[in-house]
Symmetry: C2
DNA sequence: CCTGAAAACCATAGCCG
DNA sequence: CGGCTATGGTTTTCAGG
């Protein structure tokens, strides 16, 4: 399960921009288009490339507010966790959810249009998720470094 | 700056999978390939589509640990913030950084291979970022809902 | 704004170093 | 494994409704 330097270069490139043609990708990493293509296919099959996605403009979508919400549950029993987690997965406004070590809290990431939208989101969706004991919202003032993929 | 239902459908599709051909995309949203293509181009020009990226496998890269690190600085003066932020942007292991409201803290997201790698990352990179007063690390035990784009 | 066809381009497979 | 070549499909453009 090792990665050659060529594979690393390919991963870095497609992680930054997957719209390059094999010819351009090859020029960047110093390989022919067909060599690139073969390696990229192999990387997909090994699971190192899971898919391809368009990155949308958050501001342009009008989703200018960004929150990290810490949630504690009333209990850590399996049914409570599962009910919470499936509810979270079903809500598109919740972009992301992690179960955290420590206080057995969750962190949710949500975006919304404006303060009223956040109030609705908070009151009608997050606070009403099953098993929620406490909610603490943290607002991002500014995205200092946007998520752009893993170091490879 | 309005989005038609067709545009929304296109955005949803390419956000989920940008490797679809225009023919497949057209079949999904009920348009001809050329109509899809023109709309998608327009969405790119309006900034609603910012780019295309490959999604890499975190586990397959060996980056199995995932942290959210809260950082407080010694001061909120402009030069201190700027020094911190440029240092953050230069470190690939720091995937993401937000300036947070409230205690004027930052949140960093980092990934690494194992506990020793995290110790190095914490001690040699994060704790030595310019202007850092306090650091508090929170480990994700499990990604309950992986980030998969905005609601549109 | 859409469709449909034509042109350019590109991914992909086979074959040879 | 990498490069080259051939081919089939896809993007991209354009005329016309």
């Amino acid at each position: 399960m090792q990665l050659s330097q060529a594979d690393r270069n390919i991963l870095r490139s497609v992680q930054r921009d997957s719209s390059l043609s094999m010819a351009d990708l090859g020029a960047l990493v110093g390989l022919s288009p067909s060599a690139c293509h073969r390696r990229l296919r192999a990387l997909e099959e090994r699971g190192l490339v899971k898919g391809y996605r368009a990155v949308l403009g958050q501001r342009e979508l009008g989703l200018v507010m960004h929150f990290f919400i810490e949630v504690s549950l009333v209990s850590q029993s399996e049914p409570v966790l599962e009910a919470f987690e499936s509810a979270v997965r079903a809500i598109p406004e919740i972009l992301e959810c992690h179960l955290m070590a420590g206080q057995s809290d969750y962190i949710l990431r949500v975006v919304c249009e404006d303060a009223p939208a956040f109030e609705r989101l908070h009151r009608d969706l997050v606070a009403r998720l099953p098993g929620v004991a406490r909610v603490h919202s943290n607002m991002s003032i500014r995205e200092v470094k946007p998520l752009a993929g893993y170091p490879v």
